[in-house]
Every structure is written in C-alpha cells, then in structure tokens.
Symmetry: D2
C-alpha cells in the first residue's frame, strides 16, 4: 500500500475575490498528485502514452468541501488508490490543514485504462498485467 | 426558468502535456458560469457577501467526462438550476462542442446558503425569502 | 500584415482577492493569442515541433498595466508581429476594454527560433526561409 | 536587507502541450512571492488596502527565460527589493533549479503606491513614511 504525502502552502493567487480558495485550485493539486502517485510507482503517465499508447483517462472527478482554506495555510496532500478493477481505478485525495489536522477537502478521481488506436480514437481496455500488479501492491 | 449559455474556444494554455484539456479548466469555466448565472438574476455573489453577509458556499462539485476536448474546439457552456431547497441548491453545467452538439463534460455544483457571523465563522441558514423567490423562478 | 483580434470577458476566476485581474491571466491570454496568431498563418506551433523540430521559444516577456480590468469587462485582444529578424521575432499584444476603447494592458513576447537537437538540447537557428516569408508578409 | 526564499516543485499542470513550463505559471509564482515578501515584512497587502486604502499596484512586469524548466524540477524562488523610490519600488525574482543552481527565470515587478479615493479611482501617492522605513530596511 502506498500513501503519497506532500505539503504546500496556500498562496495569494489561489484565492478568489471573496478571499477563499478558488476551488478549481483543489483539482489542480489533485491532478498534480495523481501524476506524482503514478510517477513514484515507476509508471509516469507521459511515458505510458509514448511507449505503450496507454492513458488512464478520467471518467469522473468530485470534491467535498469540509472547511475553508485561508491565505498561507499549510496543507498536507494525501493520495491513496482506493479501488482497482480490471479496467478502472479510483484515486482518493485528502487535503488537510496542518498542524491542526483539519480536513479541508476530500476528492476522488475515477480513471479508466484507454488504448490510443491508430486513428487516434480511444478504446477502454483491461489494465495490462504488469501495470495491474504494481497498482495492486499500491492499493489500500 | 433560466438557461445561461455562453460560448468559448479551447486555447493552448487549456491543454496539458498530453494535448488534452487540463481538467481543472472545466471547473474554472463552471465556477465562472455560476457567478454569471447569479449575476444575471440580479444576485451578484460579491454584493450578497458585502451587503448581506451571505455566501452560497460549495458543498460538493463533480464532473463526468464524456468526450475529449481539443485545441480550438468551440464549446457552448450551459447552466441551469436543477434543484432548490430551503438551504441548498444545485447548478448543473454542460459543455458541448459545437456545431456537432457533442457533450464533452457534465458537472454539478452543490451549494449551501451560509451566513458570515461576527467572528467570521460560517453558519448554514435558510435562503432568504426574496432570494428564494428569484431562484425559484429561475429553476428548471 | 496580419492583425489577430478576438474578444473575451473578464470572469470571476480571473480576479484576485482585491477584486482586480490577477495579472498572470493577462499573460495566459497573450500566450493563447500567440499560438492562435501562428495557427492562423498556417504555422501551428505544435506541428512545427513534431514535423520539423522547431520551437519559437521565449526569450523575454513583459506587460505594462495602463488601466485596471474589472469583473465582466469586455476586452478585445489584438496581436501583431512588430519585429522580425533572422532568428528572432516580437509579438505585440494589446488588451482594450470595449466599447470604451480603453487600453488595459500592452505586452510583448520576444521569441527565438530554436532547433531541438537529438540529445533534446536546444540551439538557436535562423528562421527557415519558407517560414520567414510567411512571417514577413504578416509583419507590421 | 531581506531575501525571501522558498522552494517548490514543477508539477504536471504547470506544463504546456510541448512539455515545458507554461510561462504564465512563472508570473503566478512571482506574484505569490511578492505578496509573501510584503507579508513577512509585516505589511500584508490585503490589510494595507482594507485599513489604509493603499495598494502597491503594478506598473510593469517582465521575465527573461534563461533555461527551460522540466517536470518535477526542484526550484528555489528568491525575491529581493532592488529599487525603492518615493512612490515606486521594484521587486526582483529569480527561479533557480536546485541543486544544480541553474537560473531558469529572472523577473521584475515595478509597483507604484496608489491611494484608493472615495470614488474608487486610484491616485499615485508617496509611500507613507512608516512603510517606506520598513521597505528601506528590506531593500538590497
């Protein structure tokens, strides 16, 4: 099981005119963390596309907002792989204000394994065995 | 019933290194459209905060990705108010590639009426009657 | 001579907590317009890289801020090619609030023609003749 | 003299379709660092506006690009106050890839002290004495 943890600070440009975090920023951080999660498993998504024509494309994303983030808050991002099926997986993300350990946001990314065909169209396929084994070891 | 429709084009900076739309951009467009929806009802969210201490804060957001967006695609954004309760509402957003009428993304924002108290904390409250009437007329 | 003109509106997410445009947004719009300028000349920058290993890389960018942009302002973006040398060029961008014709921002992008070598390093080269002719016709 | 230094990593969403940093991101980081610089001097810009009606508005910004940033590069941001006059100041920013100490980008923000008048218009004014003293101590 792998838990990816990094820390960041909320910056001025992350805020909207009401002085609270502009919520698409949370998705930027989730997306960045998903890429880093795959990277740290030895499966960088850019390489998977170039070498094997495989993308873990998005099916659905969502976030719940539990407490507001403020300027200069320190935030720990935590990512785990909470579901792994033959073609799909779910990455779960938490953003926690530290040191108080207050959860600001929880989100999920549902991704599906897609093969890029010669005509550039995308086809849902089973996650190749070697990747599935690595992901299975990393799953919660 | 109100349907807000605007059009935009997918620009270079909306793409990620895989050449597809960086998905937090879709949430940026949804958020912008929500603000515009309230604005066009005569309820600009910045004014509601300043004059009445009221925010329609986010409870949850989500998107489903149905077809990929590409560079220079023309996209119609459509927003409707699909649910209105005493304290909460749901804005539904669609992004459609035109002129082919292919839905790229569908998303929802669940928002709750919050009162900013003197100590800056937030309390869920019923949507004030005058606002509720305007929203009720706008709902699907 | 080519003048690229498009229009956009200032949206909620373009504002910072002071209620004025978060200035990196102006650079996003400039960058988007540069790509569109090349695209409309039949020289899409992504294709130039893939087919010929050529990038018009950035040397320097700058903006002067003449008047503040506000929420829902309508803005016309205007881009021209104001300098063309053997290896370099300058794209000039103006953002004008309409219909008042008030210039909000003027900016420049200095770009240089770079060849991607086999080891992925970049080398400044003369702009190839066929591209230089097209750009020369487009220049102010 | 104050030198503000923080570190960050280049993330997936910071890249454009060519796989290099989307340059408006550098300005986002510069802007964030300017706010943090003022904050650490005890002069948070949001407070200056609310309490004293003063903004350090932008006159001009610029960046020179010396070396490309890549995915997952570690970057040190460094900010100094390189010029202080009666009404204006210049913040200088460097972004350095570490541990190699390769400068990726150097940039400047020229800011001017503005008073918000009752009609919401802005007037250039001398930097108030108490602020000027703090800034003078912080300058290079």
């Amino acid at each position: 099981m792998k838990v990816l943890r990094t820390e960041k600070r909320i910056w001025w440009g992350d805020l909207d005119p009401l002085g609270i975090v502009f919520y698409p920023r949370y998705y930027e951080w989730m997306d960045a963390h998903s890429h880093l999660f795959f990277h740290e498993l030895g499966l960088p998504l850019g390489d998977l596309l170039r070498r094997r024509g495989i993308i873990f494309g998005l099916v659905e994303t969502s976030c719940r907002y539990l407490a507001p983030g403020h300027y200069l808050d320190r935030v720990r991002l935590e990512t785990t792989l909470t579901q792994l099926r033959s073609k799909t997986l779910v990455l779960h993300h938490r953003m926690v204000r530290i040191p108080e350990e207050v959860t600001l946001v929880e989100g999920n990314e549902h991704r599906i394994c897609l093969k890029v065909r010669d005509d550039a169209s995308l086809q849902a396929v089973e996650i190749p065995g070697d990747l599935h084994r690595i992901l299975s070891d990393a799953a919660v």
